[in-house]
C-alpha cells in the first residue's frame, strides 16, 4: 500500500532542521540588563567565590568579608550617584544574565578606583558536560579579563557558550560603570 508519502515526511523534517538553524532562537541573549546591575553588595559574604580566587596584587582582595564590608560602607554612593563617582571607590556589581541551552550564565565584578579587581561567576550551568568544560574555562576567562582589564578576551575553544556568556555579562557591568 503506497499511501505514505515518505518524501513529504523527509522534506518536513529537513524544513524543521533548517528552520531552527536559520531562526536560531535559543542562543539569543535575554537582556536582563535592566535588573542585571544592582547596588554594591554590602551584606553579601557570597560575593567571594571559592573557585575563582584572583590572587591579584591588591591586598584588599585577599582579605575576607570584613574588608568588603568596610569598602562598601565607605561608599554607598555608586548605586544612585553618577557612574564616574563610583570609580572613586570599591564596589561589587552583578552582570546581566546570558541565556544558553544549558542554563543561565552570570558574573559579578568588584571595581576599585576604576580598576577591575575581582570577578566571580555567580551562575554557571551545572550539568556534567558543562562542568567538565567550565572547570577549565571559567577560571581562565577570569584571569584573562583581569589581566586585560577588559571584557574583550579571547574565546576559549570548546567553551563557546561560556566565553560568550562571560564577555556579555562582564561587559554589561563595564558599560554601566563607564569603564
Amino acid at each position: 500500500m503506497s499511501t505514505i508519502k515518505s518524501g513529504a515526511i523527509v522534506a518536513a523534517t529537513l524544513a524543521g532542521v533548517a528552520g531552527v538553524l536559520v531562526l536560531n532562537p535559543t542562543t539569543e541573549v535575554a537582556p536582563a540588563a535592566a535588573t542585571g546591575l544592582v547596588s554594591p553588595s554590602d551584606a553579601s559574604g557570597a560575593t567571594t567565590d571559592p573557585t575563582v580566587t584572583t590572587g591579584s596584587d591588591d591586598e584588599d582582595d585577599t582579605t575576607s568579608d570584613d574588608s568588603d564590608d568596610t569598602a562598601a560602607s565607605a561608599t554607598t554612593a555608586p548605586s544612585t550617584a553618577a557612574a564616574p563617582a563610583a570609580t572613586a571607590s570599591t564596589a561589587t556589581y552583578t552582570g546581566a544574565v546570558y541565556s544558553t541551552p544549558y542554563g543561565p550564565m552570570q558574573v559579578e565584578a568588584t571595581i576599585a578606583n576604576g580598576e577591575i579587581v575581582d570577578i566571580s561567576w555567580i551562575s554557571l550551568p551545572a550539568d556534567r558536560h558543562s562542568q567538565g568544560i567550565n572547570n577549565r574555562a571559567a577560571p581562565q576567562l577570569v584571569v584573562e579579563a583581569l589581566a586585560a582589564q577588559s571584557a574583550q578576551v579571547n574565546s576559549i575553544s570548546g567553551a563557546t557558550y561560556t566565553s560568550a556568556g562571560f564577555k556579555y555579562s562582564l561587559q554589561s557591568i563595564l558599560d554601566q560603570v563607564g569603564l
Binding site: 523527509v10 531552527v20 567538565g132
Partner: protein, 475 residues
C-alpha cells in the same frame, strides 16, 4: 462512513440469511467508486499531513540538537559527548514515534491500518532502542575520559550523584527487557500475556527517563525548546490515554455490550453474538475488527483482536474465532450475559481500499470472519468471488451462510474442503476459479503462508500489488 450499503445479515450461521429469490438490486457502481476514491484520498491526505507534522517536529528537535552540540569540541571526550546527545535525541524521538504508532490515532488507523502500524513499530523499535543504549555508552565514555576514571565508576557516579539519572537507567532497563522479549525467538517461547505485561512496563520506563532529558543536559533544558519537549510527551501519553483507554471505555459503557449467545460453528471454531445498544453508532466497516475483552475469569486481563463475522444489525454483532490460544479456547465457555469491553473498530482492509471493477475474496480457517462481512457490501456493487478453503467439510465455518449469499453472475462462492494438494491456490488453480485478475481487487485472510501464496499467485495473474489486501495477523 463509507458510501456503500449498510451491511446486512447477522444471523446464526445455521440459517439462510437471504433467499435466492430476493430481487437483485442494481448497483450504482460509478458513484459508489467515486465516493470511495474521494474518501480514500481524504484519509491518505490527513494521514500524510499528520506524518509530515511528526517529521517537522522531529526536524526541529534535531535542529535544536545541532545547536546544542555545535561548535564541536576538539577533544575526544567532547566528540563522544556530542555523539551521545545526538543519539539520545534521535533515539528518544524514535521511542516517541513507537508510542504514536500504537496510540490508535484514528487518522493513522484509517489510512494505514493497525497491522501495518504495528509492523512499522517493530521495524523502528530496534533502531530507537539501540540509539538510546548508545547514548548511555557514549556519555559514560565521555565523562569517564574527562574525569579520568573507569567506565564503571563513572556510570556509578552518574547514577548516584546526578539527579534523575537513576530513574532513566531503570527506564532503559524496562525498554531493553521489552525489546528482548519481543525478539521472535524469545517471544515464541513465552505466553502472550507475559510478553504483553512486560510491554506495559515500557510506558513506565519511558516516563521515568523523561526528567533527566530536561534537567541533566542537552538541547531541552531551557526556554521554548524545553516547552516543546514537554509538550511532545504530554501529547504522546495523552493520546494513548485518550484513544486506548478513555474512548474504548466510554464506548463499551455507552453501548452496554454483552454476550448474547455462543454458537459452535466447527469442531474448533465458535461464534459469539454480542448484543448492545445503538451499535450502528460504532461505525464499523466490513473487514474490521475490535480488540475484545470479555469480563470473565481468565479472559478479562487482556484484550484480543477478533474480526467481526457479522456487522451490527438489530442490536447484535458477531465474531467468529478459532481456538488457537488460551483465550480463544476459553471463549467457547463464556457465559451469556458477560459484559464485553471493546477497543475499535480497527483495520484498514475495508471496501474503501477497492479500486478495481471486481473483487476476489480468499479465506482459510478463521479468516472467513472479515471476508464474510466484506461479501455483503462488495457484492451489492461489484462482481465478487469468494474462495474459502479448509481441510475438511466440517471445518468450513459459516458455509451454509456463504452458500446463501451466492447470486448468479454477482456473487460466486467457491467452498473448497480438502487438502492443499487438492486446492493448492497456485496461479493455475486460481486462474481456473477466477480467471485473470488485472481488473480485480484481491482480499486475502488466512495464515501467513496462505496470504503469501495467494499474493504471489494473484500477481502472476496480473493483479496490481497495491490492490492485493491482507491484514498482517502474525503480529
Amino acid at each position: 462512513m463509507y458510501p456503500g450499503n449498510p451491511a446486512t445479515a447477522v444471523e446464526p450461521s445455521r440459517t439462510r440469511s437471504r433467499s435466492n429469490t430476493e430481487p437483485y438490486t442494481a448497483p450504482h457502481t460509478a458513484s459508489w467508486a467515486e465516493g470511495l476514491a474521494a474518501l480514500r484520498a481524504r484519509q491518505q491526505r490527513t494521514a500524510n499531513t499528520a506524518l509530515a507534522a511528526v517529521g517537522l517536529v522531529g526536524g526541529v528537535a534535531l535542529g535544536l540538537t545541532f545547536q546544542a552540540i555545535w561548535p564541536l569540541g576538539s577533544t575526544l571526550a567532547d566528540l563522544l559527548w556530542a555523539a551521545s546527545v545526538l543519539a539520545a535525541v534521535v533515539g528518544t524521538y524514535g521511542v516517541l514515534i513507537l508510542l504514536v504508532l500504537i496510540a490508535r490515532l484514528p487518522v493513522l488507523e484509517r489510512a494505514i491500518g493497525q497491522d501495518r502500524l504495528v509492523v512499522a513499530h517493530k521495524r523502528i523499535a530496534p533502531w530507537a532502542l539501540s540509539l538510546v543504549a548508545a547514548h548511555v555508552v557514549l556519555v559514560v565514555a565521555s565523562y569517564a575520559r574527562t574525569a579520568v576514571v573507569s567506565w564503571w565508576s563513572e556510570l556509578w557516579s552518574l547514577n548516584t550523584t546526578t539527579p534523575w539519572i537513576l530513574p532513566a537507567t531503570a527506564g532503559l532497563a524496562a525498554l531493553v527487557l521489552a525489546g528482548l522479549t519481543s525478539w521472535r525467538h524469545a517471544r515464541s517461547r513465552m505466553r502472550h500475556e507475559t510478553w504483553w505485561t512486560i510491554h506495559l512496563y515500557t510506558y513506565l520506563g519511558i516516563a521515568l527517563a523523561f526528567a533527566h532529558q530536561i534537567t541533566a543536559g542537552g538541547p531541552f533544558m531551557t526556554g521554548w525548546a524545553r516547552a516543546l519537549w514537554v509538550a511532545l510527551y504530554v501529547a504522546t501519553f495523552g493520546s494513548i490515554l485518550w484513544f486506548r483507554v478513555l474512548v474504548p471505555l466510554r464506548r463499551s459503557w455507552r453501548h452496554d455490550l454483552r454476550v448474547a449467545a455462543v454458537v459452535r460453528e466447527t469442531p474448533d471454531m465458535v461464534s459469539v453474538l454480542v448484543s448492545g445498544r445503538n451499535l450502528r453508532a460504532l461505525g464499523v466497516q466490513p473487514g474490521q475488527f475490535f480488540n475484545w475483552r470479555f469480563l470473565h475469569p481468565g479472559l478479562r486481563y487482556e484484550a484480543h483482536p477478533y474480526s467481526l463475522s457479522g456487522l451490527p444489525r438489530q442490536g447484535m454483532m458477531r465474531l467468529t474465532v478459532k481456538a488457537l490460544g488460551d483465550a480463544s479456547t476459553a471463549l467457547a465457555d463464556v457465559p451469556v450475559g458477560t459484559r464485553v469491553l471493546v477497543e475499535g473498530p480497527y483495520g484498514a482492509t475495508t471496501p474503501v481500499r477497492v479500486r478495481g471493477s471486481r473483487v476476489v475474496l480468499v479465506a482459510a480457517g478463521a479468516g472467513i470472519a472479515p471476508i464474510r462481512t466484506l461479501v455483503d457490501t462488495l457484492g451489492a456493487h461489484l462482481p465478487v468471488d469468494v474462495i474459502y478453503r479448509a481441510s475438511n467439510p466440517q471445518d468450513l465455518a459459516l458455509a451454509q451462510e456463504l452458500r446463501g449469499l451466492a447470486r448468479p453472475n454477482r456473487v460466486r462462492v467457491h467452498l473448497m474442503a480438502g487438502s492443499r494438494t487438492t486446492y493448492p491456490l497456485t496461479a493455475d488453480h486460481l486462474y481456473s476459479l477466477v480467471g485473470p485478475l488485472s481488473d480485480a481487487d484481491v482480499f486475502v485472510c488466512g495464515p501467513e503462508s496462505l496470504n503469501q501464496l495467494v499474493e504471489r499467485s494473484a500477481r502472476e495473474l496480473g493483479a496490481d500489488p497495491d490492490r492485493i489486501h491482507h491484514e498482517e495477523f502474525n503480529l
